[in-house]
């Protein structure tokens, strides 16, 4: 037997500079910076709405009805984006509308994510009966037309913010469940999971400490996309009058009101629609950027 020197030096081949951290990568991604910045701005506006809004969003002034935005003839300086059919300030109403939209986006998407991904993790990792039961449930659930289901749910639960959130959670948890299940299943096959078993980890420890971190990048991307979807669904329910009561300004409600007077006052429709559009695009772009930046394998 050859002699093995315990002090034999082994050269390390890769001693390049430390690659950029996750925070650095996120800061360099234009999608994350612009879309994330826009959403951050929306959050600030929503929180500080009473300070930011130039007018009381509920104050009616029939003498100042359907005033056009600044820059058009007959515009009045106090109403930057014009007034609606009851003389309420459109800008102030859009600003207050961000409150409902963002609340629904974060709470509804967050809850759907929590429920869906927990079920998805269990289905993907435990397999067998648990997987079959959860997967069939998802299949059946997804067979219902989502918009009709949410309208039905709100009709049963009654209108209000909590029913809108409940309706979105009840419908969209399946989205998370499917994706997380598939991802968990493929991660569970990986060698590092087997290696963790040979260290003597328990099954819950493997699921939450080994597998879950690898599902997170997909989950965050999906969560962000879901926030965009939640904003749209809330707008749809507001549009058909099934969301919060009519004395709370919402983008969907404004779009519904604006639709009726679109020929006299297009801005009443266009302004909330643009806000909705920009918000959904921002959420989608943010999700896309996060998916790229957070993926540990793509991180180079």
């Amino acid at each position: 037997m050859e002699h093995w020197s315990p002090t034999a030096t082994i050269s390390t081949t890769d001693s390049g500079p430390q690659p950029p951290s996750v925070a650095m990568r996120l800061a360099r991604d234009p999608k994350v910076v612009f879309a994330g910045g826009f959403i951050l701005l929306l959050i600030v506006i929503a929180v500080a709405a009473p300070l930011v809004a130039p007018q009381d969003p509920l104050a009616q002034n029939l003498l100042a009805a359907t005033l056009p935005p600044i820059g058009f003839t007959d515009a009045e300086p106090g109403f930057l984006l014009g007034t609606d059919g009851l003389g309420r300030d459109v800008l102030s109403r859009v600003i207050f509308g961000t409150r409902v939209s963002l609340t629904v986006a974060f709470v509804a998407a967050g809850l759907a994510c929590l429920i869906g991904s927990l079920l998805g993790l269990f289905a993907g990792y435990l397999g067998n009966v648990v997987d079959t039961a959860i997967s069939r449930l998802v299949d059946i659930w997804m067979a219902f037309p989502p918009v009709l289901l949410s309208i039905l749910l709100v009709a049963i639960l009654g209108t209000g913010l909590h029913s809108v959130i409940a309706a979105i959670v009840v419908i969209d948890w399946t989205r998370f469940c499917r994706v997380v299940r598939t991802e968990t299943k493929s991660q569970a096959q990986m060698d590092y999971v087997v290696a963790a078993r040979t260290v003597g980890f328990s099954r819950p420890a493997i699921l939450f400490r080994e597998i879950f971190p690898n599902v997170v990048p997909v989950l965050i991307a999906l969560l962000t996309l879901e926030m965009g979807i939640a904003v749209v669904v809330e707008a749809i329910l507001s549009f058909v009058g099934l969301s919060v009561s009519s004395d709370t300004p919402t983008w969907g409600g404004m779009i519904a009101e604006g639709r009726q007077i679109v020929h006299e006052a297009w801005w009443v429709l266009a302004v909330p629609l643009s806000a909705l559009f920009a918000t959904v695009v921002a959420f989608n772009q943010l999700g896309d950027g996060l998916a790229r930046s957070l993926d540990p394998v793509l991180r180079r």
């Binding site: 260290v199 003597g200 540990p296 180079r300």
Partner: protein, 296 residues
């Protein structure tokens, strides 16, 4: 040889997928304290199944039909999942085959290396980290602090394998299962890794079950060798005995199949058909005998 630390007795396994085809045929082998025991055979010979059986990670389509795996007087096959978890990591550790997939891509090296230390030794994170750093130095990683902060994809294959070796030896296990630890590495790195395993093993008095298909690698590192063919032990003995004067025709054929750098005109010989035929006949006779004794 001293009292064996690991002793496998008449281990048999069948594949449930494949019409109860036998995978292991009454395999017996013993690994002594401080011994490196080579387990050699071609793909499908059952080497990995033995390693998985010891670690309790046999895939669901394989069933252990018979036998014992004695580790320090306890039969690993009859332990509960909880009892086995106690032993794994602490007394028995694995050096996996492919360093590119055996580390969790989403977790930093320090988190992965300190797992066992925190779980089995109840070390605080800071203590575990210090220990991990010392282990990385022991496997001759020059900049352990940078490696600890890295994600697996930021390291080369050789570095990752060294991290895995350090993690395997972290709790000073009594037995390390090395499942083809150099197969995924290039030849120059292979040699360094073998030397590293041998030096760690000697320093800590660890027993190693070294699974490999490469007789050249086995010759370098193993004290004793078991040669497997289709799940049956073909030859067993000290490395010198088996490699210098193989008694079985199959071992001779395996040796002839190895590339010879000193004599490029020889080597890489396929196993002669008559040797394969003889082996298959032997295995058929063995299976018939097992069946006969079971029914008769």
């Amino acid at each position: 040889m001293t009292m064996p630390r690991l002793s496998i007795e008449t281990l048999s396994a069948i594949s449930l997928r494949d019409g109860n085809r036998p995978i292991l045929r009454r395999v017996s082998l013993a690994v002594g304290t401080g011994e490196v025991h080579g387990l050699v055979g071609e793909s499908g010979a059952g080497k990995s199944t033995i390693a998985k059986a010891i670690l309790g990670i046999v895939p669901s389509q394989v069933r252990i039909a018979d036998g014992r795996i004695d580790f320090e007087g306890r039969d690993l096959l009859s332990l509960s999942a909880r009892e086995l978890r106690e032993i794994l990591g602490r007394d028995i550790a694995l050096i996996p085959q492919d360093p590119s997939t055996a580390l969790n891509p989403a977790r930093r090296i320090d988190a992965q290396m300190t797992d066992g230390l925190r779980l089995k030794r109840n070390l605080l994170t800071s203590e575990a980290r210090r220990r991990a750093r010392a282990l990385l130095e022991e496997v001759q990683i020059r900049d352990p602090d940078r490696v600890l902060k890295s994600y697996p994809h930021q390291l080369s294959g050789g570095m990752r394998q060294r991290v895995l070796i350090a993690a395997a030896f972290a709790l000073e296990p009594k037995l390390v299962i090395a499942d083809e630890p150099t197969t995924a590495l290039d030849v120059t790195v292979q040699k360094q890794i073998l030397r590293l395993i041998r030096s760690l093993q000697e320093r800590h008095g660890t027993s190693v079950l070294f699974v490999s298909h490469d007789l050249g690698v086995v010759a370098k590192i193993c004290d004793r060798v078991t040669v497997l063919y289709m799940g049956k032990v073909v030859e067993q003995g000290t490395t010198a005995e088996v490699l210098n004067s193989p008694r079985h025709a199959y071992t001779k054929a395996l040796l002839a199949a190895n590339p010879r750098y000193d004599r490029p005109d020889t080597g890489l010989e396929p196993t002669p058909p008559e040797v394969v035929a003889a082996l298959r006949a032997e295995i058929a006779a063995f299976d018939a005998g097992v069946m006969g004794s079971r029914h008769g």
